[in-house]
Symmetry: C2
Subunit: 282 residues, 2 copies
C-alpha cells in the first residue's frame, strides 16, 4: 500500500504516542516531533507506510535511548492472552467449524495494537469478532489452498496476538514457519515474545531481519525472500504487514481488523471491518 497524504500527520501522532511510552519529558517529546516533522519532506508517497514507520521508530529509539519501550506492555499482553488460551481452546472444541473459529480468534488478537489504537478490551473483542460478519471472506479459497499445501508461512504481527496465532496454527495441522520482527518496534512480536507466547511449541520461528512495523520484502534478506518464493500458503496478520505486502504476488491470505480509515479504503471496506482476503482473483 502506498503512503496516503493523511498518513503524514498520523506519523506525528504515532511518534508522540510511542515517545510517551518512553518519557514524560515535554522537551524530549517536542524534540521527537521536531525531528519527525523534518522527516516529512523526505517521505515519498510511493513508500509503504511501514518503510516510513521504520525510520520514525529508529529516530524515537535514538532520541529516547530506549530500545524496547513496549517490553512491559508486551509481556502483560502475552500473559493476559495466555490466561485466555484454555477457554479459547474449549470454545474451539465446542464450535461447528473449528478452523473458522480459530481464524476469528486470530483476528481478535489483532486488536492488541498500540501503533494506531490506544485502548482495547480483548474479552469484548473476542465476543464481538466471534459473531461479526466478514467484509471480505475468501474462506472457501483458504480451505481449498490449505488442503493442497504441505507447509505454511505465517507472518506475525503484535506480541500478544501470537497466542491467538498459536491457536490457528494448531488447527491448520501443517508445519509452520512463523516470521517475527528482528528488532522491537512498537508492540510487534519478536523472537523472545513468540517463545513466551508458546509459538516455539507449534512452529519454527524465523526473524525477518528488518525492524519495520510491517514486512517489506525488498528490505528482507535472501532467507526470507526465499521463504516467500517457495511458499504454497502464506498468512499475513494485521495492518502493518498488509501495508507492506498488499502489492506482492505470492499466495497470501490477509487476516486483520481494519483500525484506520485509509487502510479500510485501500481494501474497499469500512473502518472496523474484519477481513479474510486472498491476494489473487477468486
Amino acid at each position: 500500500m502506498k503512503t496516503y497524504l493523511d498518513c503524514l500527520p498520523c506519523f506525528l501522532n504515532q511518534a508522540l504516542r510511542a515517545g510517551r511510552m518512553v518519557t514524560n519529558n515535554e522537551m524530549k517529546l517536542k524534540r521527537i516531533l521536531d525531528e519527525v516533522g523534518m522527516m516529512v519532506k523526505d517521505i515519498p508517497l510511493e513508500n509503504t507506510p511501514p518503510e516510513t514507520g521504520d525510520i520514525i521508530y529508529r529516530k524515537i529509539r535514538e532520541i529516547s535511548g530506549e530500545f524496547n519501550p513496549y517490553q512491559k506492555i508486551k509481556q502483560k499482553n502475552i500473559k493476559e492472552a495466555l490466561s485466555l488460551y484454555p477457554s479459547l481452546k474449549e470454545k474451539i472444541e465446542e464450535s461447528n467449524d473449528r478452523l473458522l473459529t480459530a481464524i476469528r480468534f486470530a483476528i481478535a488478537g489483532n486488536v492488541i495494537d498500540f501503533g494506531v489504537n490506544k485502548k482495547f478490551d480483548i474479552n469484548k473483542e473476542i465476543n464481538e469478532i466471534l459473531r461479526k460478519k466478514f467484509a471480505i471472506f475468501n474462506y472457501k479459497k483458504f480451505k481449498e489452498l490449505l488442503a493442497h499445501s504441505k507447509k505454511i508461512l505465517y507472518i506475525g504481527d503484535n506480541a500478544g496476538e501470537a497466542v491467538f496465532d498459536r491457536i490457528l496454527i494448531e488447527e491448520m495441522k501443517r508445519p509452520v514457519t512463523y516470521v517475527v520482527r528482528s528488532v522491537p518496534v512498537i508492540n510487534d512480536v519478536t523472537y523472545e515474545d513468540a517463545v513466551q507466547a508458546g509459538i516455539d511449541k507449534v512452529a519454527n520461528i524465523v526473524s525477518s531481519k528488518t525492524s519495520a512495523p510491517g514486512l517489506i520484502l525488498k528490505t528482507c534478506n535472501h532467507e526470507i525472500k526465499n521463504l516467500f518464493e517457495k511458499a504454497e500458503f502464506i498468512i499475513s496478520k494485521g495492518q502493518g504487514n498488509y501495508e507492506g505486502l498488499s502489492n506482492e504476488k505470492y499466495p497470501i491470505f490477509f487476516l486483520l481488523k481494519t483500525k484506520c480509515w485509509f487502510i479500510a479504503n485501500d481494501l474497499g471496506v469500512d473502518d472496523g471491518d474484519i477481513i479474510l482476503k486472498g491476494n489473487f482473483k477468486n
Copy 2:
C-alpha cells in the same frame, strides 16, 4: 492557551484540510505538508495555537496562491444562516428567557467551523444546543455585568456564525463593536462577511488587523488594544479566540462549544460541551 504537544500533529491535519480546499494536486498538498512539517521545530509550546495557525495558513496561501479558499463556503454558510434568521427570531419571541435563548443560538452558530471539524448539521445543532446543559454557566454574572455596561466589545469567529451573533447583539440592546479578522483565514469572519451577515445593521465593525485564526492581543494594533483597555463587557466567540485570549485579564465571557479534546481539557470540561465562561472569579 499554550500549544499542547498534540496540537502539532493536528496542525498538519489542518494544513492538509485547508490545502484540499484549494487543490487536489497531490504534489502541491505534499509540499504544504513538507513545509508545515519543517515548521514544527520552530513552534514554541509557549505560543498560543492561533499564533502558529497564522504562520501555517500564510504558508498555505503562499504555496497555493489562493488568498480566500473558503470564500464560497463562507457565502453558502451565511446564506443558510440568514434563511434561518426569521425562524430563530420567532423562537426568541416565544422563549421564556430571550437573552439565554440568544446566547444558545450564538453558541450553535459556533459549530460552523472548518478548522477542526469537517461536517456539521446546523439545524440539528440548534435543536441540540437549545436543550443542552452548559458545562460552565456564568449566566448570572453575565446578566449582572451586562446590566452595568454601557457598551459591548464582541469578538467574532466564523463567517456563518455572525448571523447568530447578530441575534444575540439584538437582544443585548447596547452599542456593540464587532471585531473581525483583517484577512481571510479558514472560514473566519472578515469585514465583507460581517456585512453580508447583516452585522453592520446592529454593530460597528472593526478589523483586528491580524490574520491569526484567533485574536492574539499582543499582535493587534493600538486601536484594538485600546478597545480592550476601555471595555466593560467583552464577548469572545469560539475556540480560536479562547486559545488567544484565555490568559487575558479583561472582563471577557467566552461562548463556545468545545470541538477539541485539548481545549476541553484546558477548560476542565468534556469535548462537545457548551460553555458560557467569564474569565474572572465568581
